[in-house]
């Protein structure tokens, strides 16, 4: 029997942009167990919600993560709007969809670069991040921000994106989509990439379901689950189906994200075509505070995110709880790592697209 050794992986590691720690129990080069631990960047944002006015908390919610910041702000607003029974203007919902899908594209392209970096494909890494800049330019033109946008508010949007801007965005999308093909083709079909991803980090469908996997991690194991199908922000009026792969391995998880990039381009075009005129902001009555409880569920680039709200009729929430997709994907990750080679650990970790800032909140 091979001797067992424990190799610490992280919190500082070349493939980890954020700190997470795994104790890898090895028999020779084979991982027999992975024990995770977190808490290096825990910020207690849930506790902060009990001290901030619920309007101000939008900006804190947006800062849960620097990559999916817009959808965090949107999710917070969606939950508060449900508690306050607000019916926000359709134009605001459409703009939220457009910005949310742009965020998804830039997140997936960022992930593609990080994965390429993990297996040493430096040119693909740099090319991915160059294309991501084009999406960030669109976001900057639309919102004024590249990382934190501050455009979502309870009741709608803080600023409108006028029709000329939307048309310019539409014109640029075709070119950016063509650029994306240059990245996604080698990511899925290059023989050296496939050797690192096909059959690596298996997560069978039943296991994924039992372990509560979400997002592309679940969909790559054949689970057709996408929180956008719930219908928030008018997604139920758009034509799309969850992207599903059945390979259950790292390649399938890559394929789901790649296909979702193109799906997001399509959703943006649908949303722009269906954006009506009118206001983007609902004026709130002063002194109206959230009361009751509600769990808002949205689809982040990494999967389903849950925001639980409990209001007691004061400007401060009694409880604000966020369950982020990476938190849900920690248990599936532990399972994927069992039985893999040590050299495959970085690639497998990246195929869940870990976002530790989200996880730590």
């Amino acid at each position: 029997m091979a001797q067992r050794t424990i190799v610490p992986f992280g919190p500082q590691h070349p493939v980890l942009p954020e700190p997470i720690h795994l104790d890898l129990v090895l028999e020779d080069e084979l991982v027999v167990q992975a024990i995770p631990s977190i808490g290096y960047v825990h910020r207690g944002l849930e506790g902060l919600a009990q001290k901030k006015d619920f309007h101000e908390m939008v900006y804190v919610a947006e800062r849960i993560c620097g990559i999916c910041s817009f959808i965090h702000g949107m999710g917070y607003c969606t939950g508060i709007e449900a508690l306050l029974q607000l019916d926000i203007p359709k134009r605001a919902n459409r703009l939220r969809v457009i910005l949310g899908e742009l965020s998804r594209i830039h997140s997936h392209i960022l992930w593609a670069g990080l994965l390429a970096d993990a297996f040493g494909f430096e040119s693909l890494f740099m090319h991915s991040w160059r294309v991501r800049e084009l999406i960030l330019d669109l976001l900057e033109e639309a919102t004024g921000g590249r990382v934190i946008f501050g455009i979502c508010k309870v009741g709608g949007m803080r600023r409108d994106i006028d029709d000329d801007q939307l048309k310019r965005m539409l014109d640029k999308l075709d070119g950016i989509e063509r650029e994306c093909c240059v990245i996604t083709e080698p990511l899925l079909n290059d023989s050296t990439v496939r050797k690192r991803t096909v059959g690596v980090g298996m997560l069978p469908q039943e296991t994924a379901h039992l372990l509560g996997a979400v997002g592309p991690t679940a969909r790559a194991s054949g689970i057709a689950m996408d929180a956008r199908r719930l219908g928030y922000a008018g997604y139920n009026k758009l034509n799309f189906e969850p992207i599903v792969e059945t390979g259950c391995d790292s390649h399938a998880r890559s394929a789901v994200r790649v296909r979702e990039i193109y799906q997001s381009f399509d959703l943006i075009r649908q949303a722009i075509a269906d954006t009506p005129g009118g206001d983007v902001d609902l004026k709130l009555k002063p002194g109206v505070n959230p009361k009751g409880h509600y769990a808002a569920r949205l689809e982040q680039p990494r999967g389903e995110v849950v925001y639980y709200f409990e209001g007691n009729g004061t400007p401060n929430l009694h409880r604000f709880r966020v369950r982020t997709p990476t938190f849900a994907n920690v248990a599936p990750l532990v399972k994927m790592l069992e039985g893999c080679q040590l050299a495959d650990v970085p690639v497998i970790v990246l195929t869940i697209d870990p976002c530790i800032s989200c996880t730590e909140r």
Partner: protein, 134 residues
């Protein structure tokens, strides 16, 4: 556009029922979504959320702060280990039967149970100082 509000059911159960209920839900194909803890006065309210076909059901368990113990469901849903360690780390609960128990060290933190700090007893008034010169 009609306002979007997802229907969400809340069912109150006793803490002793948790493992059996979890086993039943797993058998019926429900996925664990999250476990939330809310401090309600002298009680801790736990919400165990499960999803099946986009339907969300919450099981509410009330636990007195004086006896903050719940049985683990991680034997049925391994994914629950992360949520249950969070309950131990941030709320000072004890989860019996955890499959992967970090014993309060899942999160690296300075304070014990930062989201549920122990209530401080009011300080007793200081005894008057004896008068000088007597």
């Amino acid at each position: 556009m009609a306002q979007f509000i997802e229907e969400q059911e809340i069912i109150a159960i006793a803490r002793e029922e948790l493992p059996a209920r979890a086993a039943q839900l797993a058998k019926e194909g429900w996925r664990i979504v999250h476990v939330a803890c809310i401090v309600q006065g002298d009680q801790l309210e736990l919400l165990y959320a499960f999803d099946r076909a986009y339907k969300l059901v919450n099981y509410r368990v009330l636990v007195p702060k004086s006896d903050p113990v719940v049985p683990s469901i991680s034997g049925v849903y391994l994914a629950a280990f992360a949520y249950e360690n969070e309950l131990q780390d941030l709320f000072g609960m004890r989860v019996d039967g955890l499959v992967l128990d970090f014993k309060g060290q899942f999160y690296r933190k300075r304070h014990q149970a930062p989201f549920n700090p122990p209530t401080c007893a009011p300080a007793e008034p200081a005894a008057p100082a004896p008068a000088a010169g007597n």
